[in-house]
């Protein structure tokens, strides 16, 4: 019984952490362009400065 009191809060906390991470990434526009995101990983930076790929919107 006492292990439940520890484990359930831990499980919920981890779940909430995941939820918060998702909501944050949604808000910062990472889900706006799924097709572009899939392709951007293939850009190599031989001939340019590394790009800031998650510049904040606005």
């Amino acid at each position: 019984m006492s292990n439940l009191l520890l484990l359930i809060p831990i499980a919920l906390f981890l779940g909430l952490l995941g939820l918060a991470a998702f909501l944050w990434s949604l808000k910062s526009g990472q889900f706006d362009d799924m097709e572009g995101a899939a392709n951007r990983i293939l850009f190599d930076d031989d001939d340019q400065e590394p790009q800031d790929s998650h510049t904040k919107n606005n």
Binding site: A11, L19, L26, D32, L42
Partner: protein, 810 residues
């Protein structure tokens, strides 16, 4: 001839006539290639893959000067300027990389990011607003077209809705997962003897998660249900909201009194499933709509105004005032209503009147917005703007027609309307029956009544329509057919007749040479003269002759024809009068249609006759449609001769010619009064009221802006068979929706008696609900696996990269 080289920049074949040597097709491309070399970005060419479906990257020198970028720039309080641009010509990820890099080479650019899904560019920079012209110049020089747009107008509403649904979905998903974890423990506890205290603890924790989550994630449903109730209607969201709220309330009461059954998991899982359906639905339609918006804004042009002091500037057409003088270049769309001051040209009025032959225009002629100036530049004095233009008149007609269209109620809402009362009466009867006749306590009776509500809560029912819709819209999107209206597919299933417009819909809107022995020998000469002109008939001659070399020393006489100084003397190519042929000259062939004549010194004049050729699959489409029992009609604004000719070729018996826009709409309204539902397919401005009046409407992507806006469905490419494809998919999805309804009802038929008799526990409810949802989704997926092969061979290219609409992943 040797095999043609391909241009190093745009990839198109290079003709021997190219001004930029054997490696490039034009100077613009050569310049673009050199610029990339200077900037050290040549690696673009090795990493790109050219998509033949998109516009080639051909820099257009006129275009670069013609767009006003400063209008829609917004500046924030830190002095940073922002601009949103639509990009045309993106082939692959390398284009995204190139555009971003080109912009970021400039130190004042703070941010430049292309969204590959929507093909839109956001950029931010320091410095002056007017710098933008300089900043985007390299991108334009590469051949991309950039069109500024106002994000507030275009996408904000759908985007906000989409991200709200996604947030709700995330919260519901989190809560459903955790509550289910606890519920499974409780269910296992039934059989293994879990202690009452542990069970209550688990119920309390579930309540703690489920109540706030449901309060948040259910907002889209509560809002829609509340809106419906306030208007004294019932939609699907009413029983959903009621079911969720009652289930949570009852479970909370159970938890407080330490009862064995709580339905937290059912309520929150229900919300999760429904949100999945809602989100996919909204995203699929959002994609179709954004593709349609993209097409439209690429057509939007500004007008060139000539000020009194002789300077030219570009303004939006709606900012033109009567009395202003506007310059329209050859080949340009006229943006205003006005009167020609200066210049002689031909005007293509097909979008307004449906006439396929250009009219001659000279000073004094009235021209209308939406027509195209063909052969020579014109100066036009603006006579009408805003509410007084022909276009505004058509918009008024269209609005009237839309009011006449009966308010269509979606099938799901019609089902809900009869379903909801049945459910509520059933659950009321259960309560009264157990309490008064069954003789148990009112709390237990209420438990049973609420179990009925939960078990009948239309989870599968509410998924039945959206899932099918998502898959159908996604499938059509991949075929280049954009479904804009939510109920378009439902309405398509009930049509009995199909009405076509002529020019631009059944036909391609481009003239085509009717070749015969009479003109065979002279075609080459005529075409090499015609290659110097952009008149549609000249272009048709060149197309018919194939590979021709334009000859020099040709002068164009707008509205009349072309003349060429050849060693043998003056050769004329043009109208009958221009070539000096008597009106009553004997014709060896009596084919009617637009014509041009070729007059060579010392030889008999040769006549070339053209016709507006039907789309290559038009005949098959008409045949297929009539074979399936649809009534086919043709309503055109063109002259009876041309209309009857086409109707005969295509086998259409019911045709009407010389109709005004109002006539077309009235004709459809008259048929609707007879109880006939029609699908209208049209492209012209003159079709817009008819498109609005019809039960369902489609228009090609080449259609006038206003028609694309009003049409339920927009199809891309040259195939008319999109009409059949849309009807097919609509029929198939209708069948699947009905099957899904049947499945849901069948499931209720089994579970309702269980619930009424008080035998449903949360475990039973969870199993029944999930399995019925899965069956409904699996059934809908059959639409996806259906034949994706073309109905009629030879698919036209699809300019929109249709992203997978995606199957639900539950």
């Amino acid at each position: 001839m040797t095999t043609p080289n391909t241009c190093h920049h745009c990839g198109d074949p290079v003709t021997s006539m190219s001004p930029a040597g054997p490696d490039f097709c034009c100077r613009g491309c050569a310049g673009a290639f050199a610029l990339l070399g200077d900037l050290g970005l040549k690696s673009y060419y090795s990493r790109r893959s050219i998509d033949p479906k998109t516009r080639p990257l051909r820099p257009d020198t006129d275009e670069i000067a013609a767009i006003n970028f400063t209008d829609l720039v917004s500046t924030d309080d830190k002095g940073i300027h922002h601009l949103n641009l639509m990009v045309d010509g993106i082939h692959c990820a390398a284009c995204v990389w190139l555009i971003e890099t080109l912009l970021q080479k400039n130190p004042s650019v703070l941010h430049a990011r292309v969204n590959m899904t929507t093909r839109r560019l956001r950029m931010a920079w320091n410095g002056g607003i007017a710098d933008v012209d300089e900043l985007v110049k390299p991108v334009l020089q590469m051949g991309y077209r950039l069109i500024p747009f106002d994000p507030a107008v275009l996408e904000q509403a759908t985007k906000a809705r989409n991200s709200e649904l996604l947030r709700c979905l995330a919260v519901a998903g989190f809560a459903a997962g955790n509550v289910m974890l606890l519920s499974v423990s409780v269910w296992a506890g039934y059989f293994q003897g879990m202690g009452g205290a542990t069970r209550d603890l688990f119920h309390w924790i579930s309540a703690l998660i489920a109540l706030p989550a449901a309060a948040y994630a259910g907002i889209p449903f509560y809002r829609s249900a509340w809106g419906a109730i306030r208007n004294r209607r019932v939609n699907m969201d009413v029983p959903i909201s009621l079911g969720v709220i009652l289930a949570l309330g009852m479970s909370l009461a159970e938890t407080m009194r330490g009862g064995p059954h709580a339905y937290f998991d059912s309520a929150i899982t229900l919300l999760f499933f429904l949100l999945v359906g809602r989100y996919l639905d909204s995203r699929a339609r959002g994609q179709a709509r954004s593709a349609a918006e993209h097409l439209l804004s690429l057509n939007a042009r500004s007008v060139t105004v000539l000020d009194d002091d002789g300077t030219r500037r570009l303004i939006a057409p709606d900012k033109a005032k009567p009395g202003m003088i506007v310059i329209v270049a050859a080949g340009e769309r006229i943006g205003i209503d006005g009167e020609i001051l200066d210049g002689q040209s031909d005007i293509d009025t097909s979008l307004i009147t449906g006439e396929s032959i250009p009219n001659t225009a000279k000073p004094g002629t009235s021209v209308f917005a939406g027509t195209t100036n063909i052969s020579a530049p014109l100066r036009i004095r603006v006579t009408a703007t805003g509410q007084t233009t022909l276009l505004a008149e058509i918009v008024r007609l269209m609005e009237n027609a839309e009011q006449g269209r009966a308010k269509y109620v979606a099938l799901a809402d019609r089902v809900a309307k009869s379903y909801a009362p049945v459910v509520h009466i059933l659950s009321g009867t259960t309560f009264l029956g157990w309490w008064l006749i069954g003789g148990i306590g009112w709390q237990d009776a209420l438990m049973n009544a609420i179990a009925v509500l939960i078990i009948t809560c239309p989870c599968a029912l509410a998924l039945a329509v959206p899932v099918v819709q998502v898959i159908a819209t996604g499938r059509l999107l991949r075929a280049g057919i954009l479904v804009k209206s939510a109920t378009a597919l439902e309405r398509l299933t009930s049509i009995r007749g199909v009405i076509f417009d002529k020019t631009g819909t059944l036909t391609t809107g481009k003239p085509e040479l009717i070749s015969n022995t009479e003109n065979e020998g002279s075609l080459e000469l005529a075409a090499s003269i015609a290659a110097n002109s952009s008149h549609p008939l000249s272009r048709a001659l060149v197309r018919a002759a194939g590979n021709v070399t334009p000859i020099a020393n040709v002068s164009e006489h707008p509205g009349q024809g072309l003349s060429a100084e050849l060693p043998g003397g003056m050769v004329r190519l043009g109208s009958r009068a221009f070539c000096g042929i008597a009106e009553n000259a004997d014709l060896s062939s009596h084919v009617a249609g637009p014509e041009i004549w070729l007059q060579e010194p010392g030889r008999a004049a040769v006549r070339f006759v053209f016709r507006d050729a039907p789309r290559h699959d038009a005949e098959q489409v008409i045949e297929t449609l009539s074979a399936r029992g649809f009534d086919i009609s043709l309503l055109s604004g063109d002259r009876p001769v041309t209309v009857s000719q086409l109707a005969e070729t295509l086998g259409i018996r019911d045709w009407k010619a010389q109709l005004s826009p109002a006539d077309k709409a009235n004709e459809i309204a008259r048929r609707a009064e007879d109880g006939k539902c029609d699908l209208m397919v049209g492209d012209g401005i003159n079709d817009a009221p008819a498109l609005a009046a019809a039960h369902a409407s489609m228009s090609p992507a080449s259609a006038a802006e206003i028609s694309q806006n009003v049409a339920d469905i927009v199809f891309q490419g040259d195939r008319l068979s999109a009409v059949i494809e849309a009807i097919d998919v609509a029929k198939k999805s209708d069948r699947l929706v009905r099957q899904n309804f049947m499945l849901s009802f069948g499931y209720n038929l089994i579970t309702i008696p269980l619930a009424v008799s008080g035998m449903v526990t949360p475990l039973v409810a969870a199993i029944a609900m999930s399995s019925s949802s899965l069956i409904v989704i699996a059934n809908a997926l059959r639409l996806r696996s259906g034949s994706d092969k073309p109905i009629i061979e030879d698919r036209a290219p699809l300019p929109v990269r249709a992203q997978e609409a995606g199957a639900p992943s539950v």
